[in-house]
Point group: D2
Chain length 362, copies 4
Amino acid sequence: MPPQNYHPPDFTSPPLVNSPEARFAAVPADGVLPEGFFSTSNLPTYIKAGGRWSLPTRPRMDCAIRRVGATLEVIEPRRLKRGDEIALGLAEDGSEGIYVHSAGFLGGARSANEFRFMSSEVSRERPVNYEELAARLIEEKTRGGFLIWVAGPALVHSRARGDFEWFIQQGFVHAVLAGNAVAVHDIEAAIFGTTLGMSSTGQPTDGGHGLHMRAINQVRAAGSIPGAVEKGLIRGGIMHALVTRKVPFVLAGSIRDDGPLPGVFTDSLAAQDAMREHTVKATGAILIATALHAIAVGNMLPAYHTHYEGVPTPLMTICVDQTEFVVNKLKDRGTHQAYGVVTNAQDFMHVLRFYVEKGMAA
Amino acid sequence: MPPQNYHPPDFTSPPLVNSPEARFAAVPADGVLPEGFFSTSNLPTYIKAGGRWSLPTRPRMDCAIRRVGATLEVIEPRRLKRGDEIALGLAEDGSEGIYVHSAGFLGGARSANEFRFMSSEVSRERPVNYEELAARLIEEKTRGGFLIWVAGPALVHSRARGDFEWFIQQGFVHAVLAGNAVAVHDIEAAIFGTTLGMSSTGQPTDGGHGLHMRAINQVRAAGSIPGAVEKGLIRGGIMHALVTRKVPFVLAGSIRDDGPLPGVFTDSLAAQDAMREHTVKATGAILIATALHAIAVGNMLPAYHTHYEGVPTPLMTICVDQTEFVVNKLKDRGTHQAYGVVTNAQDFMHVLRFYVEKGMAA
Amino acid sequence: MPPQNYHPPDFTSPPLVNSPEARFAAVPADGVLPEGFFSTSNLPTYIKAGGRWSLPTRPRMDCAIRRVGATLEVIEPRRLKRGDEIALGLAEDGSEGIYVHSAGFLGGARSANEFRFMSSEVSRERPVNYEELAARLIEEKTRGGFLIWVAGPALVHSRARGDFEWFIQQGFVHAVLAGNAVAVHDIEAAIFGTTLGMSSTGQPTDGGHGLHMRAINQVRAAGSIPGAVEKGLIRGGIMHALVTRKVPFVLAGSIRDDGPLPGVFTDSLAAQDAMREHTVKATGAILIATALHAIAVGNMLPAYHTHYEGVPTPLMTICVDQTEFVVNKLKDRGTHQAYGVVTNAQDFMHVLRFYVEKGMAA
Amino acid sequence: MPPQNYHPPDFTSPPLVNSPEARFAAVPADGVLPEGFFSTSNLPTYIKAGGRWSLPTRPRMDCAIRRVGATLEVIEPRRLKRGDEIALGLAEDGSEGIYVHSAGFLGGARSANEFRFMSSEVSRERPVNYEELAARLIEEKTRGGFLIWVAGPALVHSRARGDFEWFIQQGFVHAVLAGNAVAVHDIEAAIFGTTLGMSSTGQPTDGGHGLHMRAINQVRAAGSIPGAVEKGLIRGGIMHALVTRKVPFVLAGSIRDDGPLPGVFTDSLAAQDAMREHTVKATGAILIATALHAIAVGNMLPAYHTHYEGVPTPLMTICVDQTEFVVNKLKDRGTHQAYGVVTNAQDFMHVLRFYVEKGMAA
């Protein structure tokens, strides 16, 4: 909140010196405005009337401007009476005699028509264009791109597991970067039908708290994840699909890990090195329900790639999370190109698959 | 954090006096446990060995218990060596010589097997059972139930509008309780194709900030929402479906309202009275993306109804929100029966419709 | 949402068979209730009147029960007229002729007086008892306890850095478990006065994005963090206080790390082993603004310790985060004993220090 | 995610045509960079070497640029060996032979040095400058400003009640705009010492769920809030301070209200009209822990006022909430001038008071 000096508009030079008088029209019925009324914002707004520019009194947004004699007042439409005189106009740049001075406190960087709603880039209230996301995935696949998927364990917890498996089977996944927990939950689900002892419909089970430890132990006994797939211990799910489809994956260790599973990179620098061999190939990245891995991969990802004929091309970066916070944190750590989708991981996978299936059929 | 005194278990009385010795087995390979190992929790855990009960040292969860001579130690499985002796058992009630004393600090209300993961009722990590939700909606419709839908403006913003319209058309909606904004956004979308000036793909538009005021003004000029439908001003969307399908709705006014639209109850007590005539009929309620209206309706809703042959029956109450906070707040205001779905309103409507369509076809 | 059968109360056995008739009194003025009125919940509520028990119509919470002839109706107090007859009573167990049947759908586990507001354990709406927290810290220090502090980088970002330093200097910190980023931000602040290039009043600075890399590089050139303190490169802040006060710390590496700083455990298993040597000594833990480290440490922490004369004693576990989600996730990962404080890390440290200073002076 | 064409820099015209060659220096020790190293971002970055500009391979942020023969590569500092050649420079505008092409995909609106961390305006990770907030409050009071406070019930729940009372007593509060619930909780606390039946240390109490109804009833019996103060029913707290200090307040009704208390504006349009008579006088607004009231007042507030000698002056607008979402929603509804403080209402009031007391003493 720096102290800010007000710079009034220059009404003595073009274009404002040439502005016409503002137009006014009568209210046709109590609380009903004439078509073409001027709708206010909360910024300093000058009206040219009687040859001079002035600010109406009682400014606020979403109102009309009423003229009573020489006075101009901002007023709620519902309070107007039939016959009241109201300013008309859609333009805010003075060309209709009304000038919204958005640059008054802000220096010259702002344009007219600056005032708007819903200007946050990342918001649960912003619609997600799944058609476009699906089209982009299909295009990347068709074009021979390299899509890396970065996932947190919520993806497995919340039954998006089957949808992720589908994307792998269909060839939309060229590398998976995740942690020990994603594989642990997925393999617990494959062996026991639970994740952290919770059933697939979300019920906790007695004695369930040890099941992930038993799953880890069985894979350790088998020697490796591919070994456990081969031996038939793991018969479905994400890790099964990755192994059988020969899609590369990096499981990076963390201090939260139980086990860990064989094959997990317990050294974080070795993990970074392994991950980066995939990020340098990436033409797109989908980051779902993980702050740690999303930001780690975001740090490694350029905002562009040159894999399509050497021309710098924006690297499609989609970040899906339940809250705006993780997406904004990713941006605040430099991954400004991220397109945020604020939703539940399970529902995202489900709806995205639905649109990709539709797009593939078209 | 009240000071808590520890009450040790009574090992001199049944059932614990009759417990067998704990069993131990050798580790078959470095870092690999024998099947049937005991997996620890963080609660006081007594082992019966050599005729006496003792607590192992270095307690923590997700570990094994190793015996070295007379000593028992909690240790990470990865640190074990081939031949180390490890406690076995699945039971935590002493019947296998291991007793988890969950009631030590807590009084007698806790059972054995108390320790578990994922015990929060409301969590984005808990899978949503859409099949069951869809089945319940279909059952209520079949049975002649009365479903009230309570919606916030995010439902319209985020393109779930078409899905909500579908539910109305299909007869799953028996009353809608909402605010002025839901109708304003819906009607702005019907007339101008935008909500708060944002396009259906989420782009802000210049000059868009006045469009909701223009939409309101046109309906005020038409005299009423049904009048605007009749005149062809409103040709689709939620309000159009409600009017043409003759589904009752209550639009309750608030201090945030622009306009308001004709028909909005500006008096909050009159609005409450109108809403309650619907809540007393309800056999189910779906509350989506609104704290104010969800809690207002939650206050009015009994936890049960007697509309099915006079027998008290739980009143299905589903609360959908982007964050756990709103659902928990609803519960904290007494609507303890609410089943929370933590997701984006747009995706919820989309996936729910998908499963209801599937269920209807079945 | 399992199907639930209703089990009506048994009015033919004690205690309900002995219940008196409910009492009623007249409303003294329009919309004003007599003292001692019965205030409803949303649970099935039986009234004994005329020798028989019945459910009033139109149930809802926060209302009164009006008798009109043989009819009992739940009604908003504001709708009552002078002279209306209203049920009286505070007890919900039938002892005043009113019985709230909370166990109707739920089995026998629920008590009377079950209905309440604000039953969530973790909520931003729940007051934080800083006096008690401060008293607990002082008590642990006095008693020779071992307090481990687990911190995320927000603690440094947001200027709680000076307060954390104060707690270290005053002897309230016996080990710090954190990641590379905490030390990096702290040392960037010590050398350049910024964190991630942002000034201490929150302004981004041009060229600031490289400052954390320059800070890391200088410490790497110095060979170690203690070396950098000795050489006068680091003259204040958290790491300076830890080194000069000889408080042990573990910096656990992660895949998000830049650098890393010398001394960071890059192997996650080595980091776990180092951390656990502190958690086994802990009599208390304060986890602030970190999901990864809080859950990692939570996994290692028993819910109790035996460091005070061998008696199992609850291990004070405080988890501070901006959202309920992290605290509940920690609980969902088994650290059920965590006491949640839902606030900003900066403000928490500031207010806690204020109360500890007050407590120390007392 | 619009398709974006890449516009390469123009290296044939000034200023880039005049850029010098990039400078390089040798790495002094394994993993240690020379001072003045260039720290990368994720944007297209051109290096002038051997008379021509090129993009290094393997781009990412937070790295160095190594020259190996004619090749330039982006590499993690830790992977460098003594003697490796590294690019030097702080400038990103070509003046040191390195050019970060931030406008490549974005058109001409971006400047050099565009890449930065922590660019979100509203974030829990951004430090709050309480000294400045306190100074502003003191300045407004000294200058004869008009400060409106808009509060949600969390302010009362969470024990900031005493601090709010203090601000009223000290003359920092010129009008309060709130809802029925704020007054109900405050008066429940004054009469019974609880809020929604929860004690001041956060414990639920049996039978507590009716206490707010009993508090409302007693005030209704007294006829008005000022009447209840006069009769000694209300002896402290927020409403008591407002009444005795004759600070005006507007309690706006909503559909969530119990009661309501006498004096609440149950008609939302009447409430808006009453509120606006205060917002037109405002020189500053503090909005705490309420989405409904904050946005309602935000709609009415101009972004500036003319109460200081008629000169447009920014209207200080502070919005305090537990999550970024509410602040961003307020901005998305047009109140773009809001300064967001992301913290707990209780702690905000406590810390702010601490700094105001300090500022007043200075």
